[in-house]
């Protein structure tokens, strides 16, 4: 039974990586937005199963993302994904205490911190706070949009 679950989750994990690779980029003027599917997956898993195991899954997913997309900042995504998993995993702990609005706020704030820290490190211009905020804000909106759609239509609002 346990093996069956492990295989199922491994398939899901592989599917997430493939979806992330194939997911189209959204062009908004000069900005390019690419919703972070791995972050959505980590959020769902952290809410459903708590944060202990998901912290490690998030670390390895982040590391994979690092190995594909980073050159000199290897470890950045694994750091941020781990933090995000810890933050969103707190929804599972406070499920009966926090209402839907609070839970959604926790997710949005965690997403924003994740993207803000990422772009703060990646963007090489100290005078471009507006650009960093623009990217962080838009990435948060699109990524949360995908989470919201999945929660609404696939999970029947069981997540938040």
């Amino acid at each position: 039974m346990k093996n069956h679950k492990i295989i199922l989750h491994s398939i899901f994990l592989l599917a997430v990586i493939i979806i992330q690779a194939y997911f189209p980029i959204i062009y908004l003027g000069s900005l390019t937005i690419s919703p972070d599917i791995t972050l959505v997956y980590i959020s769902i898993m952290a809410i459903l199963y708590g944060r202990f195991n998901i912290i490690f899954i998030a670390f390895f997913l982040g590391l994979f993302q690092d190995l594909i997309s980073q050159v000199t900042l290897l470890g950045l995504f694994s750091f941020l994904k781990t933090l995000a998993a810890y933050g969103i995993g707190s929804i599972n702990l406070h499920d009966s205490v926090w209402n839907r609005k609070v839970q959604s706020s926790v997710i949005i704030v965690t997403y924003f911190i994740h993207f803000f820290l990422y772009f703060y490190v990646v963007i090489n211009d100290s005078a471009s706070w507006i650009v960093i905020l623009q990217y962080s804000f838009l990435q948060t909106i699109f990524t949360f949009g995908i989470f919201w759609l999945l929660n609404r239509f696939i999970f029947g609002r069981r997540l938040t």
Partner: protein
């Protein structure tokens, strides 16, 4: 018993601590041979994973590319006849001046396989050790410099893009070919450092690779000057540039060998 309770109570925090610590170790020492080898293997694996994507993108873009190439072929044919004339004249003058002939760049065509980040810092191309690609070879497209090879797998290579935070390239710009260093800032913009105030620089001028480094041959276009400011208290001008390569719409690139 008590220690078990403490461990189970704090296990989330311990897991977080361990993961963050490992991430930070990776972040501050990510150029070990083990990481290099892992990076190359993952790059190869990713190429296989995204091969259907390349296949359908190839089909979709072939027709469009074909008509563009036909148009380019006619233009180039006209240029060719003109250049042929110049070549003969050039050869003659070189012989007179006893100059050595310049070898043209040897280019290896490659296909981009990934572009999943909003702020691209690296891409994967479908050539590797099997195609004699080595580390630190320049990658260009028709518009100019795109980056350099970083991690080489058997069939795929990771390319550090010109937009990467830590990318630097020595350039020459302006009529006097003054030296400077190109640094990316954000999006498709960058800055030129070290351009002295005495050098006259105009908006629209192109910065080319200087040829000083061992990696880049000279005269590859890098960026176009978008603004120049000499009113500062430093000996150098503030020069903002726009990268020539369109990093949102590329498919085919060339590795300079």
């Amino acid at each position: 018993m008590k220690s078990n309770w403490i461990v189970s109570f704090h296990r989330d925090a311990i897991a977080l601590g361990i993961s963050l610590l490992v991430s930070l170790i990776l972040l501050f020492s990510n150029k070990s041979p083990f990481i290099d080898a892992l990076e190359a293997d993952i790059t190869d694996g990713y190429l296989i994973l995204t091969s259907p994507q390349r296949w359908y993108r190839d089909i979709l873009s072939t027709k469009e590319q074909n008509s563009l190439l036909a148009q380019k072929a006619i233009q180039l044919q006209l240029l060719y006849s003109q250049n042929e004339h110049f070549r003969v004249e050039n050869d003659h003058l070189r012989r007179m001046l006893n100059f050595a002939s310049i070898n043209p760049l040897s280019l290896l065509p490659a296909n981009i396989t990934n572009r999943h980040s909003a702020m691209l810092q690296s891409v994967i191309i479908d050539v590797g050790k099997n195609h004699d690609v080595r580390k630190n070879q320049p990658v260009i497209d028709m518009a100019g410099l795109m980056g350099k090879t970083i991690s080489i797998g058997e069939i795929a290579t990771k390319v550090q893009l010109i937009t990467d935070k830590n990318y630097r390239v020595s350039i020459r710009v302006g009529e006097k070919k003054s030296l400077g260093i190109f640094l990316p800032s954000h999006g498709r913009f960058g800055i030129l450092e070290g351009v002295r105030k005495s050098m006259e620089l105009n908006v629209g001028e192109i910065a080319y690779t200087s040829g000083i480094s061992d990696i880049y041959p000279a005269n590859i276009p890098v960026a176009r000057v978008t603004s120049v400011n000499s009113n500062n208290d430093r000996p150098f001008q503030d020069v903002t540039v726009e990268i020539l390569v369109d990093l949102q719409n590329f498919n085919y690139v060339f590795v300079v060998q």
